[in-house]
């Protein structure tokens, strides 16, 4: 295992965040604040509470999850796509590195950035609404699992994409809608029965539900199912990444 190389990739990617603080950190934090203003203050004033939790606090796990998913995918996909786009990928391919080590460096950095961002949003949210975390351990577990899974997904997108448009398509047209419809701002239980059933096909429902449970001990689906679905998603991503490594898909001609 070439740990020094993994560390080099990790540091390189993390330093990119330092160069783009406005885009990487400030922008998501400001967006989250705006969501609080709109949903927490404006709309939240008309919805007092959901299942015993004040609405402002109720949306916090959903907001964190939304940012976590989007940023994990964006960071990881851009991280691996950029060297492909400018041609510096040759350096990774000609180094004594396994694909696993390359993925570990990029996915590790993307997940770290997302987790840091998630924690920053959590602290920011705490300024707007009083928060309690019933199961901090599970909260961290869901945070890490989700960040890693979606960073893996981003890594796959970054390898699949052959243009900046494709790089944006999945985050914008699939992940964002799934997040909005996954219970970020509401409980799935308030939907009509048909839409409740439809929602169960949305994987993000399980992520948000499990994460929200770690805060308030309320969930749309049982926490065991949430954990199983998150792990399943992680496993599917790992299998796809393994296949990419095995075949050299889009990396080696």
């Amino acid at each position: 295992m070439n740990w020094r190389a993994v560390y080099a990739i990790y540091l390189f990617e993390m330093s990119r965040t330092g160069r783009t603080v406005m885009q990487s950190i400030l922008s998501p934090v400001i967006s989250t604040c705006l969501y609080f203003v709109v949903f927490g203050a404006a709309i939240g004033s008309r919805i007092t509470e959901i299942e015993g939790v004040p609405y402002g606090a109720f949306i916090v796990p959903g907001l964190i999850m939304m940012m976590l998913l989007t940023q994990s995918v964006m960071n990881a996909s851009f991280g691996i796509y950029f060297p492909r786009f400018i041609g510096t990928i040759y350096e990774l391919l000609s180094a004594p590195l396994s694909f696993f080590e390359i993925a570990l460096g990029y996915v590790g950095a993307a997940a770290s950035k997302s987790i840091i961002l998630g924690l920053i949003i959590l602290l920011t949210a705490n300024l707007f609404v009083p928060l309690r975390i019933a199961h901090p351990g599970w909260m961290v577990a869901f945070l890490v699992l989700t960040a890693v899974s979606f960073s893996l997904l981003g890594f796959i997108i970054g390898i699949w994409a052959d243009g900046f448009e494709k790089l944006q398509v999945i985050p914008l047209l699939i992940i964002t809608p799934l997040t909005f419809l996954g219970g970020s701002f509401y409980s799935v239980n308030v939907l009509p029965p048909v839409w409740q059933t439809v929602s169960l096909f949305n994987p993000v429902v399980y992520l948000i539900s499990g994460f929200r449970w770690s805060f308030f001990e309320i969930a749309d689906v049982s926490v065991g199912v949430s954990l199983a679905m998150t792990t399943l998603f992680l496993a599917v991503c790992l299998v796809i990444v393994w296949w990419i490594f095995k075949t050299g898909y889009r990396l080696k001609t």
């Binding site: 330093s15 990774l92 391919l93 000609s94 590195l97 050299g248």
Partner: protein
């Protein structure tokens, strides 16, 4: 890496030379590559690169030079055949093989936003080497980049960016350096600087494989030359031997007067008349024991033709290259 100068002592001399300069460091056997498009980029290539030499791979665009390099370096998958680097198979033992190699690709591919020091240090890290600021500083100083170590790559000139790429390739102290068209698009002064850098690297024991379509570059630098065309390695030869073997010389006699045709008395010499009619041109082969020059000059004198000057010219590597490649078309 080989360092220091040899201390030849009797029977040890041959052993030293063999161990350090004659042993193969890269062995390519029956290497073929067919891309998904059906393009046969390499056809059963056999090639041995000797430790410590400068090997120039010549060939027209699309001949397969870059494909060959990219396969050895792990960027492109081979279709069949095998490659070993210092005895390590490039697929089964890729870590050991790749750790010996530094690559400077043809395209200027370096992240514009990074600082020079950071990007060179990153390259060293990728090869699993511990951070060594003294070594990085030395590489940058050798390439006259040290003063710009804190500059973003985007602020450098094209020539400097190319030097940054060389610095990145050298950052992990490779034993083998691939330079794919290293001086493409750089000015004459920088080209000469690069040649000097390459010579210094070779003096330090680095084996260098360069591809180029500047024939003069190969002529200036290489110990051996390989010519590749349409995926086939046409020949591999010592540079001097190649010129000697394939080199043609011509003798030009500049006449005092003009001739309408080559006189019949000289027909045995297969002469050609220059376009103005005032030159007789004689082609001969340097490989032959007899060049026929003495007999020609005797016959010229006996036929009463007077000349005011004569000159000989030898085929350049470029002439040889063009001849070989055009023969295969």
């Amino acid at each position: 890496m080989i360092t220091g100068s040899p201390a030849f002592a009797g029977d040890d001399e041959w052993e030293y030379v063999y161990n350090n300069f004659m042993q193969p460091i890269i062995t390519v056997s029956q290497l073929s590559k067919t891309y998904a498009s059906g393009l046969e980029a390499l056809k059963n290539v056999d090639l041995t690169i000797r430790r410590g030499e400068i090997f120039a791979l010549l060939g027209p665009n699309g001949a397969g030079k870059t494909t060959l390099i990219n396969i050895i370096c792990g960027i492109v998958k081979k279709s069949s055949g095998s490659v070993t680097v210092d005895g390590h198979d490039i697929v089964k033992d890729y870590r050991a093989a790749r750790s010996l190699i530094g690559l400077v690709p043809q395209e200027l591919a370096v992240s514009a936003f990074d600082k020079v020091w950071a990007t060179v240090s990153f390259s060293r890290g990728l090869f699993g080497k511990p951070a060594d600021s003294d070594f990085i500083a030395k590489v940058l100083k050798d390439l006259t980049l040290y003063d710009r170590k804190d500059s973003q790559v985007m602020t450098l000139s094209g020539g400097m960016k190319r030097r940054v790429m060389i610095a990145k390739a050298l950052a992990h102290e490779p034993q083998i350096l691939f330079l794919d068209e290293p001086t493409a698009g750089v000015d004459v002064e920088l080209r000469k600087d690069m040649w000097q850098t390459v010579r210094e690297l070779r003096a330090a024991g680095v084996t260098i494989i360069l591809t180029t379509h500047y024939i003069e570059e190969a002529e200036e630098m290489a110990d051996r030359i390989g010519i590749i065309n349409k995926g086939e390695l046409i020949l591999v030869e010592e540079k001097a031997e190649l010129v000697r073997k394939l080199g043609k010389k011509q003798l030009v006699l500049q006449l005092n007067g003009k001739l309408a045709a080559v006189p019949p008395q000289l027909s045995a010499h297969r002469l050609t008349l220059g376009p103005q009619g005032d030159e007789l041109i004689y082609h001969y082969d340097t490989r032959g024991e007899r060049t026929g020059i003495t007999a020609l000059l005797n016959d010229v004198r006996e036929s009463g033709i007077r000349f005011r000057d004569l000159q000989t010219t030898q085929s350049s590597l470029e002439d040889i290259f063009v001849d070989l490649v055009s023969e295969r078309k």
